[in-house]
């Protein structure tokens, strides 16, 4: 075999470049989302599993009922009333966009445009 050294080095470099995404992620993808709920309340308006998977559907349903049907009845959980509203409801408990919303949204790379119009609560600290 001619040019053994060059061929093997070339192959090694080629394999390294091709597998770059794999080993880069082994090191880099350890940031697992850890959304923080900065409140003492224990229960959300819906079970945890539903909220994790379908909170966006709930928000759209609320918008439809509140804005279009004019039904502004509040949701009661554990004796506490919540407005069916992103800013005046959800964000009362999930006070921090950075520590709650963005944790997962950044991880899965989705960019909801809520805050183009809605005003997010001031980030404390």
């Amino acid at each position: 075999m001619y040019d053994k050294g060059k061929v093997i080095t070339g192959l090694v470099i080629f394999v390294l470049i091709v597998t770059f995404p794999v080993w880069y992620n082994v090191r880099g993808a350890q940031h697992i989302p850890n959304p923080k709920i900065l409140t003492k309340v224990k229960h959300c308006v819906k079970p945890l599993d539903y909220m994790r998977a379908d909170h966006m559907k709930l928000l759209i349903d609320w918008r439809y009922e509140v804005v279009r049907e004019g039904d502004r009845a509040k949701v009661t959980v554990d004796g506490v009333q919540y407005e069916r509203s992103l800013v005046n409801g959800c964000m009362k408990c999930h006070v921090s966009e950075k520590k709650f919303c963005d944790q997962c949204h950044e991880y899965v790379d989705v960019n909801p445009y809520c805050w183009d119009c809605h005003i997010k609560p001031k980030e404390t600290e």
């Binding site: 918008r63 804005v67 279009r68 049907e69 004019g70 502004r72 800013v87 005046n88 445009y113 183009d116 119009c117 809605h118 005003i119 609560p121």
Partner: protein, 282 residues
């Protein structure tokens, strides 16, 4: 064969004539009947509708009576109304008529009521601060124009905007005869060097959203305040002056319905057929 060629042709010809003539004869009979039937109720109906003005109103229709004399006698009251609304709904103040966003504003008599005679009018009229806002028409042309149903009429007769659905086509602005709709040409939440909002000199209502670039907005009769049993901000800002009376114009027992019966009021551009729900006492 019993049927001769001659007989066959005769029968075929007759059937063809009958087939062609029957539908038209039938149609003319039908039309004649209709015309005869429709004439009577039409005559009766027109006499009735002359008395009623517009179509029979059903359901709740919130509306306003704005007493311009009271506004004229209380200097600054009109500005106070607009200011209360601006603060409540995060309406940016660009200080530039091209970008202007307005929900409730004042204009002069001439431009508010262009359909009324402007020929040698009373001088006092020119001094009236005419408070203008969305008329929340009973027959809103903007709602018909909207291709996405972003603007719609709710069960209280309020013409609402759902900013999430608005695609910014501005058909509604072209359809509205009152100029009550504003387009967001720019992003309202620009900040200055110190990190303060540039266009909200009076602060921001954290409970109400701002808008994004590219949506149309307008007065919503304070739908949220109504749901809480409160009066709209502008009405509340007038206090006890009764400059603006708000209520259901279809409820004969409401204060507003009684005022509409007792006083002479005018609407803006009634000939447009939009049936505006905002009335003015001149």
């Amino acid at each position: 064969m019993d049927v001769k060629r001659r007989k066959f042709l005769k029968i075929a010809g007759l059937s063809a004539v009958a087939g062609l003539a029957a539908p038209s004869a039938f149609n003319s009979l039908l039309k004649g009947g209709e015309a005869a039937a429709s004439e009577e109720p039409h005559r009766g109906g027109s006499a009735e509708s002359e008395g009623e003005g517009s179509s029979k109103a059903k359901g709740i229709q919130y509306g306003m009576v704005i007493d311009l004399q009271v506004l004229a006698n209380n200097k600054g009251l009109a500005a106070k109304c607009s200011h209360a609304c601006n603060v409540d709904h995060n309406i940016p103040q660009y200080g530039n008529p091209k970008d202007e966003i307005k929900w409730i504003w004042t204009d002069d008599y001439e431009h508010s009521f262009p359909e009324h005679s402007q020929y040698k009018r009373n001088e006092e009229l020119d001094k009236l601060p005419v408070l203008l806002l969305c008329n929340h028409c009973a027959n809103p042309p903007c709602v018909r124009a909207c291709p996405t149903k972003a603007t719609f009429k709710n069960d209280k007769g309020v013409v609402m905007m759902d900013y999430h659905r608005c695609i910014g086509c501005r058909f509604c602005m072209a359809a509205c005869p009152y100029g009550a709709r504003s387009f967001n040409w720019r992003r309202p939440r620009e900040k200055d060097a110190n990190g303060n909002y540039k266009f909200f000199p009076d602060g921001v209502n954290m409970k109400f959203p701002m808008r994004m670039r590219g949506v149309v907005e307008k007065c919503n009769f304070c739908a949220k305040r109504l749901s809480e049993g409160k009066l709209p901000s502008c009405v509340a800002a007038c206090g006890d002056t009764k400059a603006i009376v708000f209520g259901d114009i279809n409820d004969p027992n409401s204060e507003i319905a009684r005022i509409l019966e007792a006083r002479y009021t005018i609407q803006r551009k009634p000939a447009a057929g939009t049936e505006p729900s905002v009335f003015y006492i001149i």
